[in-house]
């Protein structure tokens, strides 16, 4: 028996009748790597952690990031970093600062030249990691110490992330106009669809009919 879909698009696919052969089983861990996305809400505000995407490479991760994290809210730039390139500190207790509790040995031999590292702070649990600044260092450990000197006093944090700047794919300066979307996009937001009102009035009608 062949089923006809109510969706004309499905019928147009002319799918063969009957059982489809099962797909070949996938190899273990057959999935894309994860990338972490940082979004900038407005010009001249710090980039803030938005969430992860799965992608085959950074360029595609950028596309997916744009869809997932910039469509429904204001955005003026995105950074994308492969998850494994982010060094993560342990968590400090809520009333402590990670720079006081987490001890990192400074590597003895520091090689030149300095590389640039991006530092992100989690101010408190439940917030998102926010870009706090950049330091020059020759290792993640050294970057941690430089970050401690530069940011600990002014910006206490319960957790910090360090990423080499070269591992951050940043949206291009000349593409700033890419983030200008039409303001009239209410239809993208769930609030624009008065579904709940309709469900409510439908239920009320139903209830009235029952009460009669």
């Amino acid at each position: 028996m062949s089923l006809k879909s109510l969706d004309p698009r499905i019928n147009r696919l002319n799918l063969p009748d009957g059982e489809q052969p099962p797909m070949e089983p996938k190899a273990a861990f057959d999935q894309f790597e994860t990338y972490e996305v940082f979004a900038q809400k407005r010009d001249n505000t710090p980039f803030t952690y938005a969430g992860p995407v799965h992608a085959p490479n950074a360029d595609v991760a950028f596309l997916f990031a744009k869809e997932q994290y910039s469509r429904r809210s204001a955005c003026s730039g995105l950074w994308v970093v492969q998850t494994r390139h982010i060094m993560v500190s342990p968590y400090a207790n809520d009333d402590e600062c990670i720079y006081d509790t987490f001890k990192v040995e400074i590597p003895e031999h520091t090689a030149w030249p300095l590389e640039s590292y991006e530092v992100f702070h989690l101010k408190k649990r439940g917030k998102a990691h926010t870009h706090i600044g950049r330091v020059g260092a020759t290792s993640y450990q050294e970057a941690y110490h430089k970050a401690k000197q530069a940011f600990a006093a002014q910006h206490p944090a319960v957790n910090m992330w360090v990423v080499k700047s070269k591992n951050v794919l940043q949206s291009a300066e000349e593409d700033r106009d890419m983030w200008l979307t039409l303001p009239e996009k209410k239809y993208r937001e769930p609030a624009a669809y008065k579904v709940l009102d309709r469900i409510k009035s439908f239920k009320e009608k139903q209830q009235k009919a029952l009460n009669k």
Partner: protein, 251 residues
């Protein structure tokens, strides 16, 4: 004469966007992976939004309301290129069409943002950022898949070969071509086509795909003046299903 020329230009742009936007929206729920499904649907929605902006300009010039323009004309009254109305094949086909179309659209909008007709220039300036992203999306996929597996490359190549004559149909000359150029309203199809060929070629050169031989192609013309394939009318019927049942419906 000048106003007729402007209307002619607006119609072909808006109709291309509406029809391709609808075709691409047919991927909603059927895309190859979830993220791409969302991306493709989202850009399809952009296209339809863009067509609304141009139908609104037409309405300001005395044409019917945007909804009527979109849903109440028959195929012979549509000015879209046949390229945009062809039914979706598999995803490689839609991806190639997206690549060929949006690269042309981006150039068209860059030029239109300097148009001598100010309302068009304003709309084009506002929309060209979104189209820039559509191009980034298309080019990223073509670069990635166009140098990946044998199957991906041969699928894309076949779609590229079969779509090229239709893509060239996008540049069908307007009967007002010279007026539009002389008045500084539009750069003209030939200029856009030349730039388009260069950009397409640049992306393809970074893949294992081959640019089809352009001089030996026969462009599929006629769409700009109502000659369409058999696929357009059924598409329009489907688009107008709701408005035909209840023209005053809110949805």
């Amino acid at each position: 004469m000048k106003e007729e020329a402007i209307k002619d230009l607006l119609y072909k742009i808006a109709d291309d966007q509406l029809i391709l936007g609808h075709r691409n929206s047919e991927w909603t729920g059927l895309g190859p992976i979830l993220e791409e499904d969302i991306a493709f649907s989202s850009m399809a929605q952009d296209k339809i939004g863009h067509s609304l902006a141009f139908y609104t300009l037409l309405h300001e010039l005395g044409e019917a309301e945007p909804d009527l323009l979109a849903f109440s004309r028959s195929a012979t009254q549509f000015h879209n290129s046949q390229f945009t109305e062809l039914p979706n094949g598999e995803f490689d086909y839609s991806l190639i069409r997206h690549f060929l179309y949006d690269n042309a659209e981006a150039i068209r909008f860059e030029k239109l943002s300097h148009s001598g007709y100010e309302p068009i220039a304003k709309v084009a300036t506002k929309l060209k950022g979104e189209i820039k992203y559509h191009v980034l999306h298309a080019n990223t996929w073509i670069r990635n898949l166009g140098s990946s597996t044998e199957e991906a490359i041969s699928r894309l190549q076949n779609s590229l070969n079969s779509l090229m004559p239709y893509a060239l149909g996008m540049f069908e000359l307007s009967v007002y071509e010279q007026v539009l150029i002389d008045t500084g309203i539009y750069a003209g199809e030939e200029a856009i086509k030349e730039e388009w060929l260069t950009r397409i070629q640049q992306v393809l050169a970074s893949t294992e795909l081959t640019m089809p031989d352009i001089p030996s192609q026969t462009p599929m013309l006629g769409g700009r003046y109502g000659t369409h394939t058999k696929h357009l009318q059924p598409l329009l019927n489907e688009m107008a299903e709701v408005i035909k049942i209840d023209p005053t419906a809110e949805w």
